[in-house]
Subunit: 269 residues, 2 copies
Protein backbone atom coordinates (compact mmCIF):
# COMPACT_ATOMS: atom_id res chain seq x y z
CA UNK A 1 0.00 0.00 0.00
CA UNK A 2 1.48 3.32 -0.98
CA UNK A 3 1.89 6.21 1.47
CA UNK A 4 -0.57 9.08 1.14
CA UNK A 5 2.32 11.49 0.44
CA UNK A 6 3.48 9.33 -2.44
CA UNK A 7 -0.05 9.34 -3.83
CA UNK A 8 -0.24 13.13 -3.51
CA UNK A 9 3.10 13.90 -5.17
CA UNK A 10 2.71 11.38 -8.00
CA UNK A 11 3.57 12.75 -11.45
CA UNK A 12 3.37 11.48 -15.01
CA UNK A 13 6.08 12.64 -17.40
CA UNK A 14 4.92 14.09 -20.70
CA UNK A 15 6.98 15.39 -23.63
CA UNK A 16 9.14 18.55 -23.48
CA UNK A 17 9.81 18.42 -19.74
CA UNK A 18 6.16 18.66 -18.70
CA UNK A 19 4.89 16.67 -15.72
CA UNK A 20 1.21 16.08 -14.98
CA UNK A 21 0.04 16.14 -11.38
CA UNK A 22 -3.27 16.13 -9.52
CA UNK A 23 -4.24 17.71 -6.23
CA UNK A 24 -5.04 15.26 -3.41
CA UNK A 25 -7.83 15.88 -0.92
CA UNK A 26 -5.65 14.61 1.93
CA UNK A 27 -3.37 17.66 1.49
CA UNK A 28 -6.05 20.32 1.03
CA UNK A 29 -5.52 23.62 2.83
CA UNK A 30 -8.08 26.32 3.59
CA UNK A 31 -7.78 27.68 0.01
CA UNK A 32 -6.26 25.29 -2.54
CA UNK A 33 -3.70 22.63 -1.71
CA UNK A 34 -1.11 22.97 1.08
CA UNK A 35 1.90 24.74 -0.48
CA UNK A 36 4.30 22.18 0.96
CA UNK A 37 2.78 19.34 -1.03
CA UNK A 38 3.06 21.43 -4.21
CA UNK A 39 6.77 21.94 -3.46
CA UNK A 40 7.14 18.22 -2.78
CA UNK A 41 5.48 17.36 -6.08
CA UNK A 42 7.86 19.69 -7.93
CA UNK A 43 10.91 18.11 -6.27
CA UNK A 44 9.57 14.64 -7.03
CA UNK A 45 9.10 15.57 -10.70
CA UNK A 46 12.55 17.10 -11.13
CA UNK A 47 14.17 14.04 -9.54
CA UNK A 48 12.48 11.90 -12.20
CA UNK A 49 13.68 13.99 -15.13
CA UNK A 50 16.08 11.87 -17.24
CA UNK A 51 18.66 14.71 -17.37
CA UNK A 52 18.64 15.62 -13.67
CA UNK A 53 22.07 16.23 -12.09
CA UNK A 54 22.48 15.24 -8.46
CA UNK A 55 20.08 16.26 -5.74
CA UNK A 56 18.07 19.38 -4.89
CA UNK A 57 20.12 22.24 -3.42
CA UNK A 58 17.69 25.15 -3.65
CA UNK A 59 14.06 25.67 -4.58
CA UNK A 60 12.13 28.91 -4.88
CA UNK A 61 8.40 28.61 -5.51
CA UNK A 62 6.13 31.61 -5.95
CA UNK A 63 2.46 31.06 -5.21
CA UNK A 64 0.92 33.24 -7.90
CA UNK A 65 -2.71 32.16 -7.60
CA UNK A 66 -4.55 29.42 -5.72
CA UNK A 67 -4.39 25.98 -7.35
CA UNK A 68 -7.88 24.58 -7.84
CA UNK A 69 -8.74 20.97 -7.04
CA UNK A 70 -7.83 18.83 -10.02
CA UNK A 71 -5.07 18.39 -12.56
CA UNK A 72 -2.13 20.71 -13.10
CA UNK A 73 0.97 20.72 -15.29
CA UNK A 74 4.51 21.47 -14.25
CA UNK A 75 6.57 22.90 -17.11
CA UNK A 76 10.29 22.44 -16.51
CA UNK A 77 13.27 23.80 -18.38
CA UNK A 78 16.88 22.89 -17.68
CA UNK A 79 18.57 26.22 -18.36
CA UNK A 80 22.11 25.04 -17.86
CA UNK A 81 23.97 22.06 -16.47
CA UNK A 82 27.39 23.03 -15.08
CA UNK A 83 29.99 20.56 -13.84
CA UNK A 84 28.53 20.40 -10.35
CA UNK A 85 25.17 22.12 -10.53
CA UNK A 86 22.11 22.52 -12.69
CA UNK A 87 19.64 25.41 -13.02
CA UNK A 88 15.93 24.96 -13.67
CA UNK A 89 13.04 27.27 -14.51
CA UNK A 90 9.62 26.06 -13.37
CA UNK A 91 6.04 27.04 -14.10
CA UNK A 92 2.84 25.43 -12.90
CA UNK A 93 -0.09 25.85 -15.25
CA UNK A 94 -3.70 24.97 -14.61
CA UNK A 95 -6.56 25.55 -17.06
CA UNK A 96 -4.27 27.71 -19.20
CA UNK A 97 -3.22 30.07 -16.39
CA UNK A 98 0.10 30.18 -14.55
CA UNK A 99 -0.58 29.50 -10.88
CA UNK A 100 3.02 29.12 -9.65
CA UNK A 101 6.46 30.02 -10.90
CA UNK A 102 9.85 29.07 -9.61
CA UNK A 103 13.46 28.16 -10.03
CA UNK A 104 15.51 25.29 -8.71
CA UNK A 105 19.16 24.41 -8.37
CA UNK A 106 20.23 20.78 -8.28
CA UNK A 107 23.79 19.63 -7.84
CA UNK A 108 26.37 17.19 -6.65
CA UNK A 109 27.47 16.85 -3.06
CA UNK A 110 31.28 17.04 -3.07
CA UNK A 111 33.31 16.28 0.05
CA UNK A 112 34.68 19.56 1.47
CA UNK A 113 35.43 21.24 4.76
CA UNK A 114 32.26 21.50 6.80
CA UNK A 115 30.85 23.37 9.77
CA UNK A 116 27.40 24.24 11.06
CA UNK A 117 27.14 27.58 12.85
CA UNK A 118 23.45 27.40 13.62
CA UNK A 119 22.50 25.55 16.81
CA UNK A 120 19.44 23.35 17.21
CA UNK A 121 16.87 24.53 19.76
CA UNK A 122 17.08 22.97 23.22
CA UNK A 123 14.07 20.69 23.56
CA UNK A 124 12.91 17.60 25.44
CA UNK A 125 13.01 14.24 23.62
CA UNK A 126 10.16 13.40 21.24
CA UNK A 127 8.49 10.97 23.59
CA UNK A 128 8.14 13.64 26.30
CA UNK A 129 6.18 16.04 24.08
CA UNK A 130 2.43 15.63 23.53
CA UNK A 131 0.97 15.22 20.08
CA UNK A 132 -1.13 18.23 19.02
CA UNK A 133 -3.84 17.93 16.43
CA UNK A 134 -4.97 20.87 14.30
CA UNK A 135 -8.68 21.54 13.68
CA UNK A 136 -10.22 19.24 11.10
CA UNK A 137 -10.59 21.92 8.42
CA UNK A 138 -6.80 21.99 8.02
CA UNK A 139 -6.80 18.67 6.20
CA UNK A 140 -3.09 18.48 5.31
CA UNK A 141 -2.00 18.73 8.93
CA UNK A 142 -3.55 15.33 9.66
CA UNK A 143 -0.67 13.82 7.66
CA UNK A 144 1.86 15.00 10.22
CA UNK A 145 2.59 13.87 13.75
CA UNK A 146 3.18 17.29 15.39
CA UNK A 147 4.60 17.76 18.87
CA UNK A 148 5.00 21.44 19.73
CA UNK A 149 7.60 22.40 22.30
CA UNK A 150 6.70 26.08 21.91
CA UNK A 151 4.32 28.00 19.67
CA UNK A 152 1.49 25.52 19.20
CA UNK A 153 -1.55 26.56 17.22
CA UNK A 154 -3.82 26.57 20.30
CA UNK A 155 -1.39 28.38 22.61
CA UNK A 156 -2.92 31.86 22.28
CA UNK A 157 -1.22 35.15 21.41
CA UNK A 158 2.53 35.38 21.90
CA UNK A 159 5.04 38.23 21.67
CA UNK A 160 7.47 35.74 20.08
CA UNK A 161 6.39 34.02 16.88
CA UNK A 162 8.72 31.04 17.34
CA UNK A 163 7.29 27.57 16.85
CA UNK A 164 9.55 24.65 17.64
CA UNK A 165 8.20 21.14 17.17
CA UNK A 166 8.99 17.52 16.59
CA UNK A 167 7.42 16.47 13.32
CA UNK A 168 7.18 13.45 11.05
CA UNK A 169 4.93 12.16 8.33
CA UNK A 170 1.92 10.24 9.58
CA UNK A 171 1.88 7.35 8.93
CA UNK A 172 5.64 7.08 9.26
CA UNK A 173 7.57 7.38 6.01
CA UNK A 174 11.34 7.47 5.37
CA UNK A 175 12.50 11.06 4.83
CA UNK A 176 13.45 12.00 1.27
CA UNK A 177 13.82 15.30 -0.60
CA UNK A 178 10.14 15.68 -1.51
CA UNK A 179 9.09 15.04 2.10
CA UNK A 180 11.71 17.54 3.31
CA UNK A 181 10.45 20.14 0.81
CA UNK A 182 6.96 19.71 2.22
CA UNK A 183 8.07 19.81 5.87
CA UNK A 184 9.80 23.16 5.18
CA UNK A 185 6.35 24.67 4.61
CA UNK A 186 4.49 23.06 7.54
CA UNK A 187 4.84 26.05 9.87
CA UNK A 188 1.35 27.52 10.19
CA UNK A 189 1.31 31.32 9.63
CA UNK A 190 3.40 33.11 12.28
CA UNK A 191 0.85 35.92 12.29
CA UNK A 192 -1.69 33.51 13.88
CA UNK A 193 0.71 33.00 16.75
CA UNK A 194 1.29 36.72 17.33
CA UNK A 195 -2.45 37.40 17.46
CA UNK A 196 -3.70 34.12 18.89
CA UNK A 197 -6.28 33.87 16.14
CA UNK A 198 -6.78 32.86 12.52
CA UNK A 199 -6.31 35.66 10.00
CA UNK A 200 -6.22 35.87 6.20
CA UNK A 201 -2.63 34.89 5.32
CA UNK A 202 -0.85 33.02 2.55
CA UNK A 203 2.67 32.33 1.39
CA UNK A 204 3.70 34.44 -1.61
CA UNK A 205 7.19 33.06 -2.15
CA UNK A 206 9.08 30.19 -0.51
CA UNK A 207 12.80 29.44 -0.73
CA UNK A 208 14.33 26.27 0.72
CA UNK A 209 18.01 25.32 0.82
CA UNK A 210 18.48 21.56 1.04
CA UNK A 211 21.59 20.76 3.05
CA UNK A 212 20.90 17.07 3.65
CA UNK A 213 22.98 14.56 1.72
CA UNK A 214 21.37 11.33 0.51
CA UNK A 215 23.30 9.52 3.27
CA UNK A 216 21.93 11.86 5.92
CA UNK A 217 18.39 11.30 4.68
CA UNK A 218 18.92 7.53 4.76
CA UNK A 219 20.23 7.77 8.33
CA UNK A 220 17.17 9.80 9.33
CA UNK A 221 14.74 7.12 8.22
CA UNK A 222 11.27 7.88 9.52
CA UNK A 223 12.39 9.50 12.79
CA UNK A 224 10.88 12.85 13.80
CA UNK A 225 12.72 15.95 12.62
CA UNK A 226 13.07 18.99 14.85
CA UNK A 227 11.57 22.03 13.10
CA UNK A 228 11.75 25.65 14.19
CA UNK A 229 10.63 28.91 12.58
CA UNK A 230 10.26 32.54 13.58
CA UNK A 231 8.87 35.67 11.94
CA UNK A 232 11.32 38.50 11.27
CA UNK A 233 9.52 41.72 10.30
CA UNK A 234 5.72 42.03 10.10
CA UNK A 235 4.12 45.11 8.58
CA UNK A 236 2.51 46.76 5.56
CA UNK A 237 0.61 43.60 4.68
CA UNK A 238 3.55 41.17 4.67
CA UNK A 239 5.99 39.36 6.89
CA UNK A 240 8.94 37.03 6.38
CA UNK A 241 10.01 34.02 8.39
CA UNK A 242 13.15 31.93 8.75
CA UNK A 243 12.98 28.20 9.46
CA UNK A 244 15.36 25.34 10.16
CA UNK A 245 14.79 21.59 9.91
CA UNK A 246 17.12 19.54 12.12
CA UNK A 247 17.64 15.77 12.22
CA UNK A 248 17.21 15.76 15.99
CA UNK A 249 18.36 17.52 19.13
CA UNK A 250 21.71 18.00 20.82
CA UNK A 251 25.27 18.40 19.62
CA UNK A 252 25.05 15.69 16.94
CA UNK A 253 21.97 17.10 15.25
CA UNK A 254 22.32 17.74 11.51
CA UNK A 255 20.80 20.79 9.85
CA UNK A 256 18.83 19.15 7.02
CA UNK A 257 17.37 22.30 5.47
CA UNK A 258 16.90 26.03 5.96
CA UNK A 259 13.81 27.74 4.64
CA UNK A 260 12.50 31.28 4.20
CA UNK A 261 9.23 32.69 3.03
CA UNK A 262 7.37 35.94 2.49
CA UNK A 263 3.74 35.85 3.53
CA UNK A 264 0.76 38.07 2.75
CA UNK A 265 -1.60 38.91 5.60
CA UNK A 266 -4.59 41.08 6.45
CA UNK A 267 -5.43 42.44 9.87
CA UNK A 268 -8.11 40.58 11.84
CA UNK A 269 -11.51 42.24 11.39
CA UNK B 1 27.08 64.47 -12.75
CA UNK B 2 25.42 61.10 -12.34
CA UNK B 3 26.40 58.67 -9.58
CA UNK B 4 28.48 55.66 -10.63
CA UNK B 5 25.73 53.30 -9.40
CA UNK B 6 23.20 55.04 -11.63
CA UNK B 7 25.57 54.66 -14.56
CA UNK B 8 26.06 50.95 -13.78
CA UNK B 9 22.37 50.08 -13.43
CA UNK B 10 21.21 52.09 -16.42
CA UNK B 11 18.80 50.25 -18.74
CA UNK B 12 17.14 50.94 -22.07
CA UNK B 13 13.67 49.52 -22.58
CA UNK B 14 13.11 47.52 -25.74
CA UNK B 15 9.92 45.87 -27.01
CA UNK B 16 8.25 42.87 -25.32
CA UNK B 17 9.51 43.64 -21.82
CA UNK B 18 13.20 43.38 -22.70
CA UNK B 19 15.69 45.76 -21.09
CA UNK B 20 19.23 46.29 -22.38
CA UNK B 21 22.05 46.78 -19.88
CA UNK B 22 25.82 46.93 -19.97
CA UNK B 23 28.38 45.85 -17.38
CA UNK B 24 30.36 48.68 -15.77
CA UNK B 25 34.06 48.33 -14.92
CA UNK B 26 33.53 50.13 -11.61
CA UNK B 27 31.46 47.15 -10.37
CA UNK B 28 33.65 44.34 -11.66
CA UNK B 29 34.23 41.38 -9.36
CA UNK B 30 36.94 38.72 -9.58
CA UNK B 31 34.96 36.83 -12.26
CA UNK B 32 32.30 38.88 -14.05
CA UNK B 33 30.35 41.72 -12.48
CA UNK B 34 29.52 41.92 -8.78
CA UNK B 35 26.21 40.07 -8.30
CA UNK B 36 24.75 42.93 -6.29
CA UNK B 37 24.94 45.34 -9.19
CA UNK B 38 23.20 42.80 -11.42
CA UNK B 39 20.39 42.57 -8.86
CA UNK B 40 20.24 46.38 -8.69
CA UNK B 41 20.01 46.62 -12.46
CA UNK B 42 17.12 44.14 -12.49
CA UNK B 43 15.23 46.09 -9.82
CA UNK B 44 15.87 49.32 -11.68
CA UNK B 45 14.50 47.82 -14.89
CA UNK B 46 11.37 46.39 -13.29
CA UNK B 47 10.62 49.72 -11.62
CA UNK B 48 10.66 51.35 -15.05
CA UNK B 49 8.24 48.88 -16.63
CA UNK B 50 5.03 50.71 -17.55
CA UNK B 51 2.88 48.00 -15.95
CA UNK B 52 4.76 47.69 -12.67
CA UNK B 53 2.60 47.49 -9.51
CA UNK B 54 4.00 49.09 -6.38
CA UNK B 55 7.48 48.38 -5.09
CA UNK B 56 9.77 45.34 -4.87
CA UNK B 57 8.84 42.86 -2.15
CA UNK B 58 10.96 39.83 -3.09
CA UNK B 59 13.66 39.03 -5.61
CA UNK B 60 15.32 35.69 -6.31
CA UNK B 61 18.24 35.74 -8.76
CA UNK B 62 20.10 32.62 -9.80
CA UNK B 63 23.64 33.12 -11.06
CA UNK B 64 23.71 30.48 -13.79
CA UNK B 65 26.98 31.43 -15.51
CA UNK B 66 29.37 34.37 -15.24
CA UNK B 67 28.28 37.50 -17.11
CA UNK B 68 31.02 38.66 -19.49
CA UNK B 69 32.02 42.30 -19.78
CA UNK B 70 29.65 43.99 -22.22
CA UNK B 71 25.97 44.13 -23.07
CA UNK B 72 23.24 41.89 -21.74
CA UNK B 73 19.47 41.67 -22.04
CA UNK B 74 16.95 41.25 -19.27
CA UNK B 75 13.81 39.47 -20.45
CA UNK B 76 10.85 40.18 -18.17
CA UNK B 77 7.40 38.66 -18.05
CA UNK B 78 4.59 39.81 -15.81
CA UNK B 79 2.92 36.51 -15.03
CA UNK B 80 0.05 37.91 -13.04
CA UNK B 81 -1.00 41.14 -11.38
CA UNK B 82 -3.22 40.55 -8.36
CA UNK B 83 -4.96 43.28 -6.39
CA UNK B 84 -1.98 43.96 -4.17
CA UNK B 85 0.94 42.07 -5.72
CA UNK B 86 2.52 41.21 -9.03
CA UNK B 87 4.62 38.19 -10.07
CA UNK B 88 7.50 38.39 -12.54
CA UNK B 89 9.67 35.84 -14.35
CA UNK B 90 13.17 37.07 -15.26
CA UNK B 91 15.93 35.84 -17.52
CA UNK B 92 19.25 37.49 -18.32
CA UNK B 93 20.61 36.57 -21.73
CA UNK B 94 24.04 37.39 -23.11
CA UNK B 95 25.31 36.29 -26.52
CA UNK B 96 22.35 33.93 -26.87
CA UNK B 97 22.94 32.09 -23.59
CA UNK B 98 20.99 32.41 -20.35
CA UNK B 99 23.38 33.62 -17.66
CA UNK B 100 20.85 34.36 -14.88
CA UNK B 101 17.29 33.42 -14.09
CA UNK B 102 14.96 34.70 -11.47
CA UNK B 103 11.57 35.68 -10.17
CA UNK B 104 10.34 38.82 -8.47
CA UNK B 105 7.31 39.89 -6.51
CA UNK B 106 6.28 43.53 -6.46
CA UNK B 107 3.37 44.89 -4.51
CA UNK B 108 1.62 47.60 -2.58
CA UNK B 109 2.42 48.53 0.99
CA UNK B 110 -0.86 48.49 2.90
CA UNK B 111 -1.11 49.83 6.46
CA UNK B 112 -1.44 46.87 8.86
CA UNK B 113 -0.38 45.77 12.31
CA UNK B 114 3.38 45.70 12.50
CA UNK B 115 6.18 44.27 14.63
CA UNK B 116 9.84 43.46 14.12
CA UNK B 117 11.09 40.44 16.07
CA UNK B 118 14.68 40.58 14.86
CA UNK B 119 17.00 42.86 16.82
CA UNK B 120 19.75 44.98 15.29
CA UNK B 121 23.29 44.10 16.38
CA UNK B 122 24.78 46.19 19.19
CA UNK B 123 27.46 48.38 17.63
CA UNK B 124 29.28 51.67 18.16
CA UNK B 125 28.13 54.69 16.14
CA UNK B 126 29.37 55.03 12.55
CA UNK B 127 31.90 57.74 13.36
CA UNK B 128 33.66 55.51 15.91
CA UNK B 129 34.34 52.71 13.41
CA UNK B 130 37.30 52.88 11.02
CA UNK B 131 36.83 52.67 7.28
CA UNK B 132 38.25 49.44 5.80
CA UNK B 133 39.30 49.21 2.18
CA UNK B 134 39.35 45.93 0.27
CA UNK B 135 42.28 45.01 -2.02
CA UNK B 136 42.22 46.81 -5.35
CA UNK B 137 41.34 43.72 -7.38
CA UNK B 138 37.86 43.75 -5.81
CA UNK B 139 36.80 46.76 -7.90
CA UNK B 140 33.15 46.95 -6.84
CA UNK B 141 34.03 47.34 -3.16
CA UNK B 142 35.58 50.75 -3.85
CA UNK B 143 32.04 52.02 -4.36
CA UNK B 144 31.15 51.37 -0.72
CA UNK B 145 32.23 53.07 2.47
CA UNK B 146 32.67 49.98 4.70
CA UNK B 147 33.21 50.12 8.46
CA UNK B 148 33.43 46.65 9.96
CA UNK B 149 32.50 46.22 13.60
CA UNK B 150 33.26 42.47 13.40
CA UNK B 151 34.28 40.14 10.61
CA UNK B 152 36.40 42.38 8.40
CA UNK B 153 38.09 40.92 5.36
CA UNK B 154 41.58 41.29 6.87
CA UNK B 155 40.68 39.99 10.33
CA UNK B 156 42.01 36.43 9.84
CA UNK B 157 40.24 33.12 10.42
CA UNK B 158 37.24 33.12 12.76
CA UNK B 159 35.06 30.39 14.26
CA UNK B 160 32.08 32.68 13.73
CA UNK B 161 31.34 33.85 10.19
CA UNK B 162 29.44 36.95 11.28
CA UNK B 163 30.29 40.24 9.61
CA UNK B 164 28.61 43.35 10.95
CA UNK B 165 29.38 46.66 9.33
CA UNK B 166 28.24 50.20 8.66
CA UNK B 167 27.92 50.66 4.93
CA UNK B 168 26.89 53.26 2.39
CA UNK B 169 27.43 54.01 -1.27
CA UNK B 170 30.59 55.96 -2.01
CA UNK B 171 30.17 58.74 -3.04
CA UNK B 172 27.07 59.19 -0.91
CA UNK B 173 23.79 58.46 -2.67
CA UNK B 174 20.21 58.42 -1.33
CA UNK B 175 19.09 54.85 -0.65
CA UNK B 176 16.54 53.40 -3.06
CA UNK B 177 15.42 49.88 -3.96
CA UNK B 178 18.18 49.19 -6.52
CA UNK B 179 20.85 50.35 -4.06
CA UNK B 180 19.30 48.19 -1.34
CA UNK B 181 19.25 45.17 -3.67
CA UNK B 182 22.96 45.66 -4.26
CA UNK B 183 23.81 46.19 -0.59
CA UNK B 184 22.12 42.86 0.21
CA UNK B 185 24.89 41.13 -1.76
CA UNK B 186 27.88 43.10 -0.43
CA UNK B 187 28.87 40.53 2.20
CA UNK B 188 32.10 38.98 0.97
CA UNK B 189 32.04 35.14 1.05
CA UNK B 190 31.61 33.89 4.64
CA UNK B 191 33.95 31.00 3.83
CA UNK B 192 36.84 33.52 3.52
CA UNK B 193 36.16 34.59 7.10
CA UNK B 194 36.09 31.04 8.45
CA UNK B 195 39.43 30.22 6.81
CA UNK B 196 41.10 33.65 6.90
CA UNK B 197 41.94 33.32 3.22
CA UNK B 198 40.53 33.74 -0.26
CA UNK B 199 39.00 30.61 -1.75
CA UNK B 200 37.03 29.81 -4.91
CA UNK B 201 33.45 30.78 -4.03
CA UNK B 202 30.45 32.27 -5.78
CA UNK B 203 26.79 32.92 -5.13
CA UNK B 204 24.48 30.42 -6.84
CA UNK B 205 21.14 31.83 -5.79
CA UNK B 206 20.20 34.99 -3.89
CA UNK B 207 16.83 35.87 -2.36
CA UNK B 208 16.10 39.28 -0.85
CA UNK B 209 12.92 40.38 0.89
CA UNK B 210 12.44 44.15 0.74
CA UNK B 211 10.73 45.40 3.87
CA UNK B 212 11.47 49.10 3.47
CA UNK B 213 8.60 51.35 2.44
CA UNK B 214 9.25 54.29 0.11
CA UNK B 215 8.88 56.60 3.13
CA UNK B 216 11.49 54.64 5.09
CA UNK B 217 13.93 54.86 2.19
CA UNK B 218 13.34 58.61 1.92
CA UNK B 219 14.00 59.00 5.64
CA UNK B 220 17.24 57.02 5.30
CA UNK B 221 18.67 59.38 2.71
CA UNK B 222 22.35 58.67 2.24
CA UNK B 223 23.07 57.65 5.84
CA UNK B 224 25.02 54.44 6.48
CA UNK B 225 22.98 51.27 6.87
CA UNK B 226 23.92 48.63 9.44
CA UNK B 227 24.47 45.30 7.66
CA UNK B 228 25.01 41.90 9.25
CA UNK B 229 25.32 38.39 7.83
CA UNK B 230 26.29 34.94 9.06
CA UNK B 231 26.83 31.54 7.46
CA UNK B 232 24.48 28.76 8.56
CA UNK B 233 25.68 25.33 7.33
CA UNK B 234 28.90 24.85 5.34
CA UNK B 235 29.65 21.49 3.71
CA UNK B 236 29.61 19.33 0.60
CA UNK B 237 30.68 22.24 -1.59
CA UNK B 238 28.04 24.75 -0.52
CA UNK B 239 26.94 26.99 2.31
CA UNK B 240 24.05 29.33 2.97
CA UNK B 241 23.98 32.66 4.74
CA UNK B 242 21.37 34.93 6.28
CA UNK B 243 21.70 38.70 6.23
CA UNK B 244 19.87 41.72 7.55
CA UNK B 245 20.07 45.37 6.48
CA UNK B 246 19.07 47.85 9.20
CA UNK B 247 18.51 51.59 8.96
CA UNK B 248 20.75 52.17 11.96
CA UNK B 249 21.39 50.97 15.49
CA UNK B 250 19.34 50.94 18.67
CA UNK B 251 15.68 50.50 19.48
CA UNK B 252 14.43 52.73 16.66
CA UNK B 253 16.33 50.94 13.89
CA UNK B 254 14.19 49.74 10.99
CA UNK B 255 14.80 46.40 9.28
CA UNK B 256 15.03 47.48 5.64
CA UNK B 257 15.67 44.07 4.08
CA UNK B 258 16.47 40.46 4.85
CA UNK B 259 18.56 38.42 2.46
CA UNK B 260 19.62 34.82 1.98
CA UNK B 261 21.94 33.10 -0.43
CA UNK B 262 23.41 29.73 -1.30
CA UNK B 263 27.08 29.84 -2.22
CA UNK B 264 29.34 27.38 -4.03
CA UNK B 265 32.85 26.89 -2.64
CA UNK B 266 35.94 24.77 -3.07
CA UNK B 267 38.43 23.92 -0.37
CA UNK B 268 41.65 25.96 -0.31
CA UNK B 269 44.43 24.12 -2.14
Amino acid sequence: MSHVLDEAIQVTAGPDGVFHATTHTAYANMVGPFGGVTAATVVNALQRHPEVLGEPLALTLNYVAPIADGDWDLQTEIVRTNRTNQHWILRIVQNGATVSTGTAVFGLHRPTWSSTEAQPPTVPPVEDVAVQDFPDFIAWARNYDKRFVVGGLADGASEDSTSTLWLRDQPERPLDYPALASIADTFYPRIFLRHGTYMPAGTITLTTYFHATPEELAAQGSAHVLATARGVRFGNGHYDQNGEIWSGRGADAILLATTHQLVYFKDPQ
